[in-house]
């Protein structure tokens, strides 16, 4: 499947016009939402690193055996390890990819990249953000001032370009807009139409929602439209961008959801152990136990354990009002 680096404007507009953007209810299941994503599409993941990762939706995608997705994210972590091991993707676009500083370099990522089983396309963090932002704004490129002089830009070949400012004569980078086919974003709450509130760290999610051709929201809680309309200045993602809303409490576990639960640190230690010992077999065992085994998302949470769930929630609720 060939893919334009930058979606031509006429196509971008045509794709948007083709969608039903009227106010309508979109509540559905993880399984039905997974059906909205086709093999080979470019899927951008909301959140960052191990925060507000839409794990439940990815769990459904892996179970549905979706394949050849291009996956982009600000920072990739264990969710992308899982997508690689499950065969869901062979191409990840991000700025940083590992479980996290305290757990060392991801052996799963290393295995796939060093054996050339997959491609890790590396852009700087700000460049990832600006590429989504340009996509969100409906412009084909946006100027910036990093990545010059580095090998990160050299690795990108013709996808990396510089240009001269027509006003100042300064040399700047022209970052190509990124318009994913789908953005999957987990939020603390949204209404049945997809008007979403996001507490705390926003990461790149607002730009992601506007840049993507369609948005799938998973949410800790579905609230009434009336609730949303009482504080419209708290809405972060407007319903017009959204194709599906799935209520999935604890939908980021074992990652965190701001103000709701912190990462399941003991589980993350266990994950690091398993995948460091054997990034292939360890990962397949992990997927068998946590992805393919449980029949429902609640079953998956049971696998993590009630005590771990309660502990993550206790820690997660004490953000800054304590």
């Amino acid at each position: 499947m060939t893919r334009d680096l930058v979606t031509p404007y006429a196509k971008l507009r045509a794709d948007t016009v083709a969608r039903d953007r009227g106010l309508r209810e979109k509540v559905t299941t993880l399984e039905a939402a997974a059906d909205l994503i086709k093999d080979g599409e470019h899927v951008a993941l909301g959140g960052c690193h191990m925060s507000r990762t839409p794990i439940a939706m990815l769990w459904a995608l892996m179970r549905a055996k979706r394949k050849d997705l291009v996956v982009s994210r600000s920072i990739a972590s264990t969710e992308s390890d899982m997508l690689l091991a499950a065969g869901t993707t062979k191409h990840i676009i991000t700025s940083w990819f590992s479980q996290g500083l305290i757990w060392g370099v991801s052996k799963v990522m290393r295995h796939h990249m060093e054996h050339k089983l997959a491609r890790y396309e590396e852009w700087s963090h700000m460049s990832m953000g600006l590429r989504y932002r340009a996509g969100a704004m409906g412009i084909p490129f946006i100027p910036s001032r990093s990545m010059m002089g580095s090998d990160v830009s050299k690795e990108l070949g013709a996808d990396f370009k510089t240009m001269t400012c027509p006003f100042t004569g300064e040399e700047v980078v022209a970052l190509p807009a990124l318009n994913p086919d789908v953005a999957i974003i987990h939020v603390q709450r949204c209404d049945p139409y997809g008007n979403a509130q996001i507490d705390g760290l926003q990461f790149m999610d607002i730009d992601l929602a506007m840049a993507a051709k369609r948005v799938i929201l998973t949410t800790e809680r579905i609230v009434s439209n009336d609730f949303i309309r009482r504080t419209p200045d708290q809405t972060r993602i407007p319903f017009i961008t959204v194709e599906a809303v799935v209520e999935v409490p604890m939908g980021c576990a074992p990652h965190e959801c701001y103000g709701a639960y912190e990462p399941f640190f003991d589980h993350m230690d266990e994950y690091a152990d398993i995948t460091t010992k054997d990034p292939v077999k360890g990962m397949q065992d992990y997927l068998a136990r946590y992805v393919y085994g449980p029949k429902t998302w609640s079953d998956m949470l049971s696998e993590l354990g009630m005590e771990a769930v309660l502990d993550a929630c206790r820690r997660g609720r004490s953000v800054y009002n304590d």
């Binding site: 991000t94 060093e114 700087s124 760290l201």
Partner: protein
């Protein structure tokens, strides 16, 4: 890690790095800090000489107050936002670098070379890497757009003649090659290790030893470096960690998750 034991005080290499880096900061500065030693150093500075230092996190945070014993495991985790002045999108906090609001960036790296270029992408180069490292994250942006402090362990395999891959640009090939690459602003300022504190020659931009940790010789520094170092006309001896600095670090990281 290596233990040094001057004057009865015990400290780890990470603690030594954090303390030396903290002393490089000036009150009132705005500092982009990574997790681990950088964050410890910035917080340590706030507790001593720099009460008005502002910390920025790549995850989208301005001015957090770190809760002792609850150091965040990532710049993108909710702990990073405790008592912060502002939480904002990632792209916007990184744009503060581009807008010129940041005085110092502060990070580590797997490899550094004579001109302060950092590699955190590939050991062995991109074609057939021996190790695929996590990648740039905000490192490229920070090092492209502001003045840099790097803290790392001083080992020959890390201090190399030429990095296998420039993830975060330092002075590139020295002299004016950085500005000519389109980066007229910022640049590598200091490298802090468990052996020395280094700067870069004003013209050639070669790494230059400015100070050495107490008890460390020129020979030892050179032995642990994969290229010929320059030494300043007058190489200082770094003041050993003070008891109150170590106490603050122990208070911040009582379980030594980041200072072991």
């Amino acid at each position: 890690m290596t233990k040094h034991q001057p004057k009865g005080a015990t400290f780890t290499a990470s603690e030594l790095l954090a303390i030396n880096a903290a002393r490089l900061m000036t009150d009132g500065q705005t500092v982009f800090a990574g997790i681990g030693v950088p964050l410890l150093a910035a917080t340590l500075a706030q507790h001593h000489a720099c009460p008005h230092l502002t910390i920025l996190f790549e995850g989208g945070v301005i001015g957090p107050k770190i809760v002792p014993g609850e150091l965040p495991p990532s710049t993108n985790e909710q702990r990073c936002t405790r008592r912060a002045a502002m939480v904002l999108p990632i792209t916007d906090v990184l744009l503060l670098l581009q807008r010129g609001y940041v005085d110092l960036g502060f990070m580590g790296g797997a490899q550094i070379d004579r001109y302060g270029n950092l590699n955190s992408s590939f050991i062995g180069g991109p074609e057939n890497p021996k190790v695929r490292l996590p990648g740039t994250g905000g490192g490229n942006d920070i090092s492209s757009l502001t003045n840099m402090i790097v803290a790392m362990k001083h080992e020959k395999r890390r201090f190399v003649e030429k990095v296998d891959f420039i993830t975060s640009p330092g002075w590139i090939k020295g002299r004016d090659s950085r500005a000519k690459s389109g980066l007229p602003q910022g640049g590598m300022w200091r490298v802090v290790t468990d052996l020395a504190v280094m700067g870069f020659h004003e013209e050639t931009r070669e790494m230059t030893v400015l100070a050495m940790q107490a008890g460390v010789t020129r020979e030892k520094v050179q032995e642990n470096t994969g290229f010929a170092l320059r030494f300043a006309d007058k190489v200082e001896v770094a003041e050993p960690p003070r008891r109150e600095e170590l106490e603050t670090l122990h208070h911040l990281d009582p379980d030594r998750r980041f200072t072991a």
